[in-house]
């Protein structure tokens, strides 16, 4: 044991990984090397396709069948594991390597109780352990990861727990057999920011307490800088930079890393200040909500139903970027859908451009040119059988605009819309599933723009995108606003982003509007504790303020 302590826990030297497809082999990781010591956190940062997950899989023996380490060495806890077969990995699982997966909701067996799944992990490497002891350990573990009433929770099923609690259970499972090395693969990308903060705090505590070496995979450079000792920046399978965090923030940097930093909203809160339209609040409101309430009927006849929105009153000024902020379950998406006329509401009034929305939602939108909703998941919101051209042309065909025998006119409008969202014409014949996430969101915007609406309701339009793509989409949204004189109702959970772009912010918590006001005042001096908590959870915010690094 002592001889190992001096050596790093994980040593990766000149690692090359290739994927086989048919007869051809494509190298996706080109000679990456790094060390990870006990008790330290190394963050692998990169966009999707950068090879970060492939590397994490290779060092944990989880490469898919098509993947192969073609060169280099991986030494884990003093053992060369480069040529290990699945059978050789088995004794290391749980006892040496712990793995915290990305999506807590689909990583647990929905038909097994929490206790059973935890017990399975506890028994790894401890043959013949007594039932009573397994139970004691399981309770201790759940207690350690901060699950209230651990004894009762043992007999819960996964669907009875929230996403954050499930991730805690998965962390408990990962550390159940006392591993020395923990891999956390985007452990919080499916969670709210405040939950994210608590989960990452927990991983930090466990690392300090047990001397774990943590390999933290993330696309978020701000998060990585805040949570790790070392950061390795990857792009296209190359290791661009590998430094201690302090040096990364202040020292000379790779151009790519600088760009990544400048794309983090929290690092550049003033990026769009010059575009902010002063005095927008004096403009007449284009969307007005008065005492808006929404109760979802409960499934059983006796129940009172679930209150999603309760007495929400707000005005959206013409030409403004009005952000609605809240965590999942706060009612922000319900609000967006009610404003869009898709979901019926139960009390109060909603008016858009002076037209009051009926309480019962209509089967179709009679005035699409007033207001359109841009869906969160752009892929799900378009017909999988349609080509991009058909997708963008659909509103025109429905509206009959440019129809009358002139498919040429329609086509030219499709191409105009495509130009305005900066997509090349080569995508016209493709389907949405063949596009990247950023391209899909552009297509969704182009489809809305051909209708020439005056208001766009954007429901988390960038939540599924990398920071770099997100910043491109936000740039585009500002260009479009100037070009088409649009008003945005921007739904988001990310206060860092909202701080960067919004003129006016409304904070929702459990269906109640807790705070609303001009973005500058509200975020500089948040009054409500909920807003303060949201703001504190923005990754990297404090860090950037403290180090006072300006990337403009």
């Amino acid at each position: 044991m002592t001889e190992h302590d001096a050596a790093p826990l994980l040593q990766v030297t000149d690692l090359r990984i290739a994927y086989r497809s048919g007869r051809a082999e494509t190298e996706v990781v080109h000679g990456v090397g790094f060390d990870l010591a006990r008790g330290e956190t190394l963050a692998l940062v990169g966009q999707s396709g950068s090879g970060k997950t492939t590397i994490a899989r290779a060092v944990s023996g989880l490469l898919p069948d098509a993947g192969r380490v073609t060169a280099g060495r991986v030494v884990l806890d003093g053992t060369d594991v480069t040529a290990f077969r699945p059978k050789d990995w088995r004794p290391l699982r749980g006892t040496t390597i712990g793995y915290v997966p990305q999506d807590p909701l689909s990583s647990l067996d929905p038909l097994q109780r929490i206790g059973g799944q935890l017990a399975e992990a506890i028994r790894v490497g401890r043959h013949g352990i007594a039932r009573a002891e397994v139970r004691t350990r399981a309770i201790d573990l759940l207690d350690r990861v901060g699950i209230p009433n651990p004894e009762e929770r043992l007999s819960s099923y996964p669907h009875e727990l929230s996403g954050g609690q499930l991730q805690r259970v998965l962390i408990a499972i990962a550390i159940a057999a006392d591993p020395a090395f923990l891999i956390a693969d985007e452990p919080t990308s499916a969670l709210d920011v405040t939950v994210q903060k608590r989960i990452l705090d927990l991983i930090d505590e466990l690392r300090a307490e047990r001397g774990l070496g943590v390999l933290f995979i993330t696309h978020d450079l701000a998060l990585a800088s805040e949570r790790s000792d070392h950061v390795a920046v990857l792009n296209g399978g190359d290791l661009l930079e590998h430094r201690r965090v302090e040096h990364l923030l202040t020292g000379a940097q790779h151009e790519y890393t600088q760009r990544l930093f400048s794309d983090v909203p929290a690092a550049t809160p003033g990026k769009y200040t010059h575009l902010r339209l002063v005095g927008r609040d004096e403009q007449p409101p284009v969307v007005s909500l008065r005492e808006l309430g929404k109760v979802f009927p409960s499934r059983s006849a006796k129940g009172d139903g679930v209150t999603a929105l309760d007495g929400v009153t707000l005005d959206v000024a013409a030409g403004a970027v009005h952000a609605i902020v809240g965590e999942s379950g706060s009612g922000k998406t319900t609000l967006a859908r009610i404003v869009a006329g898709i979901t019926p509401y139960t009390s109060g009034t909603v008016s858009v451009h002076g037209h009051e929305r009926p309480r019962e939602a209509s089967a179709f939108n009679e005035r699409p040119e007033d207001l359109l909703l841009v869906y969160q998941n752009a892929l799900a919101a378009v017909d999988p059988r349609f080509t991009v051209e058909q997708i963008i042309a659909e509103p025109l065909r429905i509206g009959g605009k440019g129809n009358g025998g002139s498919s040429r006119a329609r086509r030219s409008r499709v191409i105009d819309a495509l130009d305005s969202v900066a997509l090349p014409q080569t995508v016209l014949g493709r389907r949405a599933s063949e596009l990247s996430g950023g391209q899909r969101q552009r297509v969704a915007l182009a489809r809305s723009l051909v209708v020439a609406p005056r208001i766009l309701v954007l429901d988390e339009p960038t939540s599924a995108l990398d920071v770099t793509v997100q910043s491109q989409i936000i740039d585009l949204l500002f260009d479009l606003r100037t070009a088409h004189d649009l008003t945005y109702l921007f739904i988001s959970h990310d206060l860092g982003l909202v701080e960067q772009i919004a003129d006016h912010v409304s904070v929702l918590s459990r269906g109640v509007l807790v705070e609303s006001g001009p973005a500058g005042d509200l975020l500089a001096n948040p009054q409500h504790p909920y807003t303060q908590e949201l703001l504190a959870a923005v990754p990297g915010r404090e860090l950037f303020e403290r180090s006072a690094v300006a990337y403009r």
């Binding site: 179709f364 939108n365 869906y375 509103p395 065909r397 809305s448």
Partner: protein, 305 residues
């Protein structure tokens, strides 16, 4: 509806034009690649099935190329002859060549199944679409009728229908089609119920699409593919059922070389000339197997994508 169809066609043609000019070689390469991908997915069993279906197609289009003897007039000197070089599968009680009768009977048998599938698919799809999109009372009525139909064994139902329509090969086919309506309705209904709640259907209404437009442009095409793969399976079943009805005497009248009828006629000579039962049965079994094999492969492939 027709205007819509022409529009789609025009658009399709234009797309092809543009591709032809723009990146024609790329497109062709893509098509070649997807064909190659399809070919890779087929196992050797699938290839046997493909070969069988090609043979059936030949028998359907040009039976004269595969069999030279007349299927209806017999060779009086060679009654109930065993399989030989002259009569590959032997002859029946009138001296008619069994191979010729099977080959010439392909068209009638397959056409009957096609009619049955078209009746079942058409009516079932329509009923399923109406039930799921209308909901409420309409849905309840259609669904209960479907339940009632499903509770009756399919072949029995087909017999009841054919008896009320009158005997004959077309009527037998229609009867089999009617008895499969319930299955198609149910599958279509469940598909439509799933698809109509997908976000893109809602999104189409949100940009101004009227319910009828959304149903026709989005819900129907996205629900129909699952029903189509059921149709391929149903085709095999239809061959069996039509053969069964012919065997029982409800289908094609005697001189016709319909496969089920061949089995039925051969039954009387099962001890002396077993080939009369065995070979038509093998023809039925192989056809059903080939179609099921390929439709299963297609369905799995679709699920994998």
């Amino acid at each position: 509806m027709t205007a819509e169809a022409t529009l789609t066609q025009k658009q399709g043609a234009r797309n092809t034009d543009r591709r032809g000019q723009g990146d024609g070689s790329g497109r062709r390469a893509a098509i070649a690649a997807s064909l190659a991908g399809l070919a890779r997915r087929l196992g050797w069993v699938d290839w046997i099935a493909v070969a069988l279906l090609l043979l059936l197609l030949a028998a359907l289009v040009a039976p004269g190329l595969l069999a030279h003897d007349d299927p209806l007039t017999g060779d009086q000197a060679n009654v109930l002859a065993a399989p030989s070089a002259q009569h590959w599968l032997g002859t029946d009680y009138l001296g008619r060549d069994l191979w010729s009768r099977i080959v010439f009977g392909t068209g009638r048998t397959l056409l009957g199944s096609a009619v049955a599938v078209i009746v079942g698919l058409g009516v079932g799809t329509l009923l399923g679409l109406i039930a799921a999109s209308a909901g409420g009372f309409t849905d309840a009525v259609i669904s209960r009728i479907v339940d009632a139909l499903l509770s009756i064994p399919g072949l029995l139902l087909a017999m009841v229908v054919v008896v009320s329509l009158g005997f004959g090969s077309l009527n037998a086919a229609i009867a089999v089609g009617v008895s499969s309506v319930a299955t198609f309705t149910r599958v279509m209904r469940s598909q439509v119920l799933t698809v109509k709640n997908l976000p893109f259907v809602e999104a189409s209404g949100h940009i101004g699409g009227r319910p009828g437009y959304v149903l026709w442009r989005h819900v129907f095409p996205n629900s129909f593919s699952a029903v189509l793969s059921l149709a391929a399976l149903q085709f095999g079943t239809a061959i069996l059922w039509i053969s069964a009805l012919s065997f029982l005497g409800y289908g094609a009248p005697p001189p016709e070389p319909e496969w089920g009828l061949l089995v039925s006629e051969g039954r009387q000579y099962i001890t002396s000339s077993p080939w009369l039962v065995v070979f038509p049965s093998i023809a039925i079994a192989l056809t059903v197997w080939a179609i099921n094999q390929l439709s299963n492969t297609a369905r799995n492939g679709r699920n994998r994508d």
